[in-house]
């Protein structure tokens, strides 16, 4: 059932994403094409630099639009009139949620892939040769310092964290919308309010934490700096694992809230 739901979720979002991908890749190709005509003349400098800027803006917009499209899909499919169709399908709330979560992760992966591809295309010419050489050098240094084993684990930790964090980024808005639909009127307004409330709470909690920490003799920041200077590889691993746990806890929180509300307090207009 999740596969079927996922199929339709992906179809709905990719209808728009594919257009955006084509535009971004096209801009990258344009930039690359321009590099063939490299010269010191003014027209080249202007067009090359502006197409590069355009590409960067395009990539940034693509990331933002991906998030927007995913959140919009969540809202439209579940809380608009379409919700009457969605929630009477023979699927459990778990299945509905997992379809949305997997769709979000897949779309974000696709967007990151297109971003990388477009940067590669644009940067594959002679113009960027120095950049590549520099980056290659830094990478070699890093690998030599940490070793292949550590590197593999860093990559795995990084990937897991990114996947969960990607899901979290969309689920935050989805949860706000889900809480918002509890109201009879101004449902999106309430969702926006919930978002800002959660933002302020996070800020307050963060500040409170720092204040408490400063009040004790135990200096957390010195401890962390110490750990990184003495055992950098291990510290990085710990940092990685803690990030994963943190994002997983957020994931669980969002999932629990959404499931609870959708199961017991669904409020279709």
């Amino acid at each position: 059932m999740v596969k079927k739901l996922l199929k339709y979720d992906l179809k709905a979002v990719f209808r728009y994403l594919l257009v955006i991908y084509v535009i971004v890749l096209g801009t990258a190709a344009l930039n690359r094409l321009l590099q063939f005509f490299k010269s010191t003349q003014l027209w080249y400098k202007i067009s090359f630099r502006s197409s590069l800027v355009l590409l960067i803006i395009g990539i940034g917009s693509m990331m933002l639009l991906t998030e927007i499209l995913l959140v919009y899909r969540f809202y439209k499919n579940l809380f608009s009139n379409e919700g009457y169709l969605t929630f009477t399908l023979p699927a459990t709330i778990h299945e509905q949620l997992w379809s949305k979560i997997l769709c979000s992760v897949i779309c974000i992966i696709a967007t990151v892939f297109v971003m990388s591809l477009s940067l590669l295309i644009a940067a594959s010419g002679e113009v960027f040769a120095d950049v590549w050489r520099g980056a290659g050098y830094l990478l070699k240094e890093f690998v030599q310092n940490v070793g292949i084993l550590n590197l593999t684990f860093y990559i795995i930790e990084g990937l897991i964290f990114c996947l969960i964090a990607a899901a979290d980024s969309v689920m935050l808005f989805d949860t706000c919308l889900t809480i918002g639909q509890l109201a009879r009127e101004h449902r999106v307004g309430l969702a926006v309010a919930v978002f800002f409330i959660q933002y302020f709470i996070c800020q307050i909690l963060g500040t409170v934490f720092i204040i408490i920490e400063a009040m004790h003799d135990f200096d957390l920041f010195e401890l962390i700096a110490d750990a990184f200077s003495k055992h950098p590889e291990a510290a990085l691993h710990v940092f990685g694992v803690l990030s994963i746990i943190g994002s997983a806890l957020l994931f669980a929180l969002y999932y629990f809230i959404m499931h609870r509300i959708l199961k017991k307090r669904l409020n279709l207009e």
């Binding site: 079927k4 339709y8 379409e82 009457y84 169709l85 009477t88 699927a91 459990t92 669904l266």
Partner: protein
Amino acid sequence: MSELLRCENLTKRYGSLVALDHVNFTLESGKLIGLLGPNGSGKTTLIKLINGLLTPDEGRILIDGIEPGVGTKKIVAYLPDNHFLNNYMKVRDIVAYFCDFYEDFRPELALQMMNHLGISENVALKTLSKGNKEKVSLILTMSRNARLYVLDEPIAGVDPATRDYIISTIINNYNPEASVLISTHLISDIESVLDDALFIQSGHITLHKSVDAIRSENGKSVDELFREVFRW
């Protein structure tokens, strides 16, 4: 004939407002039943409870002996009051969608009925007129081979010819193993087609009788009795 729907002490509140107040009734298979009541009587709440879109505060509701969930959604076909069709699909896409999710869906029947109305499968849903959208929604719902059909205001807001078409479709689809619950306030158009009538008022079922019994006992049509009962 089997018991298809049972409500026991079914209660639902919205804050201090009691939408359904300890409602008790059963519906059998092979019947066309009218759920008749004014706005705010609890019709929509009852329909949402049947479809698992709300959970009861007290009491319970059973469809073919089981509580609303994935199992009942497989055997209940719901036509909501508002337009639920998504705009970017074509007719054949939405037919494929129903096929995908509902095992009991009969695509050949759906396409045949739509062709009969001159709606080809390549038509985009967003280009359909309001009347045609209603017809497509109804066709999709009735093309399911369900045990309980719940139609919420199926004939409101359409022209008389479309109304006749919808009523004929409902009659034609009749199946002794299934029942159709029609919620409406356009009673005079629908009453000839009903077996039984359920009057609902302020969260209570005030009448549950066969329509012919209503006519012979009161010497009036169901519509006339309704107007009398629900007069201010």
